[in-house]
Assembly symmetry: D3
Homo-oligomer: 151 residues x 6
């Protein structure tokens, strides 16, 4: 049984904090995450073309070894991205087709759902955070999405 | 023009951190939020009936004075809840109707989009964070949603 | 070939104007509609339970002879109601489940797509117009939906 | 308190009638709308690319002074367009991607929700009316959408 | 009244079996379908562009005489394709925009809903079957959709 | 590497054929499925309450040993049901809330994606087939949905 005491952080919370924190807080969180048994990665992507968001995260996950080369791992990653993407779209899927653009940070966190809890295997969490809006600087507001699936 | 230097935190980030943090980190965040010119509230709701989530947040926002009694303020709050609700549902709206239950913390944050930035008026952010899944203890994973609208 | 000259009005426009007009304008429109070869009906329904909207319109259509008792006619009516219902929901289907209520006028118009144009057979249009919002008087705004299918 | 007596017309109804009426009825409606305290604009857009619909309306609203250059005004306009767009799509968002095209009239109406009713501030209504269907002349039927948000 | 005894097969089942069977089973099914009073066609389409799926089926239906050249027939076909397309997309419409590709067999079956049952007129069923997934060979799983409308 | 030669049948196709076949064809298919390394179950559920469909399938899967008692297995099953449910709803989720009822057969098939192909682990497929429509006998048409996830 995993525990959340002291510096423990659940998988999804680790993914979300990772896209929100910067500087020292981000480094500290990465350390806590590793101590919880998670593999983590943080990247950046911006586009009016939603496929680019999927591609950027998938490429990073493979390159950084967060998923292996079996389809079932890529499938878990894909559905986690798709769920996070629903979160930032909030009911009307699409970016350029509804004339909006997204500038996003993304995180990929892989591990047990709770710190060091091996009983239910590994899961993969994707968090997306940034701004969405008109393609005009400052004409945008914050968005956030989180997707989690067993891997 | 608002600024994010030192302890500044943007409106949406404040809302999300508020549902993620506990204890001292939560208290510190509330102080930072107030210093940024935000009004904040954090509550709890769990249900298989999605209407209860809407009701709990609306009731709290009115009771705590986060919205006044004009319809345009309630409308802004409502659409922010709806957008956050899409985030936790991730593409298939509904709870009990698709046999799942949610146990959630919610936050309401009202103020400028950026700390002490009066130029674009007030906005209202709703964050929802918790777990969703089968109505069986432990058979659930984390979900998160964020909605923001001008008020 | 039908024509829209003088007092001609297309099927969908007739359905929408019928829910918008009152008094003399409504009577005049009904006369114009009949002259175009349309059968029309206008009713009223309000609820937080979306099934009641479907039931009220279906019952009226059968009672007033706007559809006969074959399934293909009821199917056309059903899909027209469903499309109009999407229009009033605007991306997030549901009423009571997302804590909102609707007070609606509905119209059913059956006939050619264009006045007296027999070439493409009969179609059925459903328009819904009214207000949707919180279950508090005055805390609601206008909504409108239109659905059309061949019958 | 606004009133609907005599020639009064509510904001959403004004927007819808504006896209439905032509000639003298359109001119009369514009006069009534102005008397109710509304600013109005009517335009035309046709495309298989949904972004063009958003762009045409946004450009017109700015050029005609129906919104100012603050983000919160553009945000209100954007969400009103998005809601009207859901109305014409009726459950399956998209145009060219599902091989259909739209030829539309649009209206933008800004003012109180009820004639000369200042108590609840200004709102913005977007109506879309026209035909949607296969990219073959005459192979299309009428569609209508309405979106309203506080501005 | 139609009957399902012996070799009878309902319209939707015929459409689905047609995309699933190959070789002798497919030929036998085509014979059974014709004996039930159905017209059938089976084709193939693969793309990341969903419009190509709509186009391929529409073109085949016209070329093979499964629909005539009236709009109401094309409308019935279109909505049947759209419903089958929802089936393969499972809640998140789109292909290339969410970085996935589909390789599909499709069937078009036209006739009574039950074998030789003339009482409720003709209906048109579309079935889609194949695989969807990443644009990498083998990184995909099976999908199936069925849509039916009166024609 | 699995193979589809002779009597081999892929996982999703097995699930769909199982809900379509009856009598001797059903028995033969069950035998073929077992020979391919699949565990199979077929049941029946009818309701206007969508939660009952989820409950019936989940209960059967557990009782028949098609999933074990870890959350990650129930999660895989749940998402497969949800995807199949989207297939039968075709773009507008819901049953009783949009005044329609479903009478369904369901199948649960667990095993490799291709016959006896151990390389990519186990997957779970859910197929739903039956009729949906008004709560009047005969006023309904066929629907089909398929969902597949790694387990
Ligand atoms: Mg899940
Ligand atoms: Mg927004
Ligand atoms: Mg149509
Ligand atoms: Mg609203
Ligand atoms: Mg139907
Ligand atoms: Mg999948």
């Amino acid at each position: 049984m995993g525990n959340l005491e002291k510096d423990g952080v659940s998988l999804g919370k680790a993914a979300v904090l990772l896209v929100l924190h910067t500087g020292g807080a981000e480094t500290a969180l990465q350390d806590r995450s590793v101590a919880c048994g998670y593999k983590v990665y943080k990247g950046k992507v911006g586009s009016m073309d939603s496929a680019k968001i999927f591609a950027a995260i998938t490429t990073a996950a493979k390159r950084e070894g967060l998923i292996n080369d079996r389809y079932r791992e890529e499938h878990a990653l894909y559905h986690s991205i798709l769920e996070a993407y629903h979160g930032i779209c909030r009911g009307q899927d699409g970016l350029g087709n509804v004339m909006r653009s997204a500038g996003l940070l993304f995180s990929i966190v892989r591990g047990p759902r709770l710190p060091n809890d091996a009983a239910d295997g590994e899961w993969i969490a994707i968090a997306l955070y940034g701004s969405m809006g008109a393609p005009i600087k400052g004409f945008e507001h914050e968005v956030l999405g989180l997707g989690i699936n067993p891997v």
